[in-house]
Amino acid sequence: MGARVITVTSGKGGVGKTTATANLAVALALLDKKVVCIDADIGLRNLDVVMGLENRIVYDLVDVVEGRCKLRQAMVKDKRVPDLYLLPAAQTRDKTAVSPQDMVALTNQLRPDYDYILIDSPAGIEWGFRNALAPADEVVVVTNPEVSAVRDADRIVGLIEAEERKIPVSLVINRVKAAMVQRGDMLSVSDVMDILSIRLLGVIPEDENILVSSNKGSPLTLNNQTVMAGEAFRNIARRLTGEKVPLLKLEQKGGLLKRLSRLFGSSDSTA
């Protein structure tokens, strides 16, 4: 069949691309999919530490592209799940060491043997983004309910739509604080959807456990605890496989006032 290449991008930095890539990769692997994730952020590699694989890197993406090693030699296996590999970015090289054509060739080499190839795109709209976009069958744009992140997401979506080939784009809204949305101090999911007008793939609540998990190098989706953000990422992974999964309820309890406010449509409390 061949793998589907999904590029995770955002425009703005710090919205949670790498966290999303790591968690989705693990969640997909736990659904018995064969997964490779590629860190396309050359010079600023991070997917390795978030996944907890930093100590096992021998070769990197640039070594592969420049022929210093075979592709399989550079792939780090995550031993905690059945079939998950990381192709790390180079830390000491310039981003121009890899071209969009290199990325297409590299993913084509991987396609026959895997189900999903996730590419963690660097922030910005320049070289690294172009590299990450070139082989994509599908793009997931991560944003936060915040003016600068939404504006940059819009810019990214515009750039993807301007491509000659049609690439499906969907949106993940990360770091949603239900309480702030409720009191009118945060853009709601429907506000963001209304502004960006693209398909919603999922909503991740703000969750302290995310930081705890990256401290430990152990993505939330790895363990089965019922942590809301982990649950939300698992749901997104299932949606990527084509399953229909309803959005999570972000609010634990709904008092009369909250239900009232929902009636008036001023907030959205689902994930």
């Binding site: 939404v150 819009d154 949305v181 008036f264």
Partner: protein, 115 residues
């Protein structure tokens, strides 16, 4: 908690999320079209000039703005005609004809030069 009731009862103005939404909509329309508020105003003035040659309009009420529907952008013009149109308002002969996208190609006899 109270702010929602306040808003429903109109006790408070816009919430910060409302402000964010409105600001974003405005800035995105400019980003997407590369049409700054300055350029838009110049465009509006030129359009008014052109239309004035043909019909009396209420210039103070003209509104030309960018609007987003789904992921498409539209330039939307609201141009109210003045209430009292002079009975014999004619296109000045000196002005060139205006080609608009939605009209059929003009026949030579339609040009202002021919009597």
């Amino acid at each position: 908690m109270t702010s929602i009731l306040d808003r429903i009862l109109g006790r408070k103005g816009l919430s910060s999320a409302d402000v964010a939404r409105e600001r974003l909509k405005f800035v995105l329309v400019t980003d997407r079209s590369d049409l700054s508020p300055d350029k838009l105003e110049a465009l509006q003035n030129e359009i008014i000039d052109v239309i004035r040659r043909y019909v009396h309009i209420d210039e103070g009420q003209v509104k030309i703005k960018l609007e987003q529907r789904e992921r498409e952008n539209y330039l939307v013009a609201d141009i109210p005609l003045a209430r009292n149109q002079p009975s014999s308002y004619q296109t000045p002969v000196s002005e060139p004809p205006i080609e608009t996208g939605d009209t059929k190609p003009r026949k030579p006899s339609d040009t202002p030069d021919t009597p």
